[in-house]
Symmetry: C4
Subunit: 220 residues, 4 copies
Amino acid sequence: FWRAVFSEFLGTMLYVIVGCGAWTENSRVPEMTLSVRVALAFGLIYAVIIYCVRNVTDAHLNPSITLAMLVTRRMCFLRAILYIVAQFLGAILGAALLYGLTAREYLAQLGCTIPGDEVSDAQGFGIELFSTFILVFVVFAAYEKSKREEAITAPFIIGIALAAVSMFAVPYTGGSLNTARSFGPAVIKNVWSHHWIYWFGPLLGGILGGACYEIVYSTK
Amino acid sequence: FWRAVFSEFLGTMLYVIVGCGAWTENSRVPEMTLSVRVALAFGLIYAVIIYCVRNVTDAHLNPSITLAMLVTRRMCFLRAILYIVAQFLGAILGAALLYGLTAREYLAQLGCTIPGDEVSDAQGFGIELFSTFILVFVVFAAYEKSKREEAITAPFIIGIALAAVSMFAVPYTGGSLNTARSFGPAVIKNVWSHHWIYWFGPLLGGILGGACYEIVYSTK
Amino acid sequence: FWRAVFSEFLGTMLYVIVGCGAWTENSRVPEMTLSVRVALAFGLIYAVIIYCVRNVTDAHLNPSITLAMLVTRRMCFLRAILYIVAQFLGAILGAALLYGLTAREYLAQLGCTIPGDEVSDAQGFGIELFSTFILVFVVFAAYEKSKREEAITAPFIIGIALAAVSMFAVPYTGGSLNTARSFGPAVIKNVWSHHWIYWFGPLLGGILGGACYEIVYSTK
Amino acid sequence: FWRAVFSEFLGTMLYVIVGCGAWTENSRVPEMTLSVRVALAFGLIYAVIIYCVRNVTDAHLNPSITLAMLVTRRMCFLRAILYIVAQFLGAILGAALLYGLTAREYLAQLGCTIPGDEVSDAQGFGIELFSTFILVFVVFAAYEKSKREEAITAPFIIGIALAAVSMFAVPYTGGSLNTARSFGPAVIKNVWSHHWIYWFGPLLGGILGGACYEIVYSTK
């Protein structure tokens, strides 16, 4: 059990280091190229971490998924709380390590998620909500199939889903889909503008995504 | 059964939001970078949605595939009509949601498919026809193999096929391959220039692709 | 048997249309972005076509592979000749169709493979030889594993190998690795400069790659 | 046994040719586009080579992995030494061949790994350490699962892990993660600036990654 919590901590830490690390240089390049790069980095590392630790934990790495699992009564309350705490601690430590590893001149970013100038708060909230809806929906579908012979494809499809959605969301809102991943860099850099959309968007989207799958498909 | 129709609706909606959403920003970047991004976004999200819902539906998300299935007598008439209606409604709702989510300055695009300036109507029609021919051919091949142990690879190969073909077709015609995906943004933006090629190209290409597979390979 | 020959013809045709089609626009964009796009388009469509038709044929689509199979006595002489003829005819027809489909202003390219200015003939020959060596080596390894439970991964790994090698070879020599794929556009555009390296490089590299696998690994 | 050593030699040679070859042209293009290309080339070719030769060898191709396997007592001392020697010889020969194959004007690079100007030695060391930590962690996890039915996914997830981490590390330190891969081009080009970080970073990171997996997960 504690290994599962530790895995959430370690996994989220590595997720933030690699994903936000791929982000840190966008001051020098056109924004569109960046979004392919960031989307692939987040999606691929997510697949990799899930692949490695899912024997031990459910490999959420994301409070939205944990919350959706809790709401649909797939995990107990204590376990969910510990997972979420581990995720936030991992994200903060990951962002701190990344702060030390990356060069001074890039530090303006550190992968903090801030909506683009032309995106209103409501739009950013909606984009995060829809994106996380899709991600959590896919996670639920993949976990359901894990009981069958299709288990080996679960990490791949979840990573692909994150990459696909990120290609849409990264230029608009930074493509967080994950409150912990947004919170870590925000703590380290003390950047909180529009930060509320990264709490309500992913968490609400995750609950809706999990509930939608549960109601429409899982009852079969 | 109704869950299958609902899945076509929901799937096409999400497909349009993510795929066309990845498209919405091409006014700021070089066209070629865009095409990799759009091709990957459409291909990956297509794989993801097929993966999630194919227990419930056949996950066409595309009138060309449904029509080809109907012509080759793999599904009944009523089911095909309902699928296609659900696909069009999903695409329109997806485009409408995307219209609300994305910022004003990008709205000139919204992922409407319009042939490039230097592409004639006949060429655009031909490119859509060939592209959809390949896509539907792959879908038929993947469905045939789904009965065997290779079922787990079907969503991946279909998504890869869409991504590969899109890398060719996106800069020329927008790489629709899907009448519903073109129709949704066109309704919302009221842009209908050269729109006929996105009806006849994909639908005819789909029928030919399905028929080709049926005649040459499926008779084994 | 004739369906296998037809598959080689159809497969090579579609391979040339999609792969060379993704190439046709490189006059407008930076060369490096193009190489990712072309490498992915060729690699992904190759995986897709192999996936679809390998029940019927061995899905070579490439004279280098057919020749290597012939030299290692894995197929008879007549079959090899017919495969190669079908591949060349498919490539020519594919290039001709692409010529019709793409716009006038792009036609300077049509995916003809010509070494970069700063690449000597010997270097181009060497790059093609090494690249095809790797591709055919992988094909042999994948076919050997096809007899076991790993069969479902064969098309993916072959496509990935082609994409990986193309990322290296495309900016230098166009990344042909396939005499038929170079010959088709060359016939249509009548461009033959340095064309000999696309005959001797891939064919010799393919034989060496097949022989290397046969000698070192296959004897187990 | 000797075939395993030969495989390490051949595999590392091809790995260096393709991966560093994809690197050789970065003088002409924006750095960010390069990093996607290089990350994909290294990751994909790594997956391909592992796929092909893992029946014969463990397919390390990387002294960090071999060293981590030795430290965790998964292989004997003699075998580890021979693997590492083969890896270094393969990398040197690969770099020499690449030197011959690529054009003069690109030769300033040859894929030598040098930290970016704004990266301090300590930061470069830390980035290499963390990156290799992740890679070796994934390799250990993948090898453990190879005993079960998930074996077919091992080469893919390892290649994906390398690609994901490279997207983060390439612009900072060149994304070596592999002392042999850094040593080969350095010998040929005689470029040794900051070279020590490519010895201590990957080797120490590899040992830590292997030990972390061994202690936390493998004891189950």
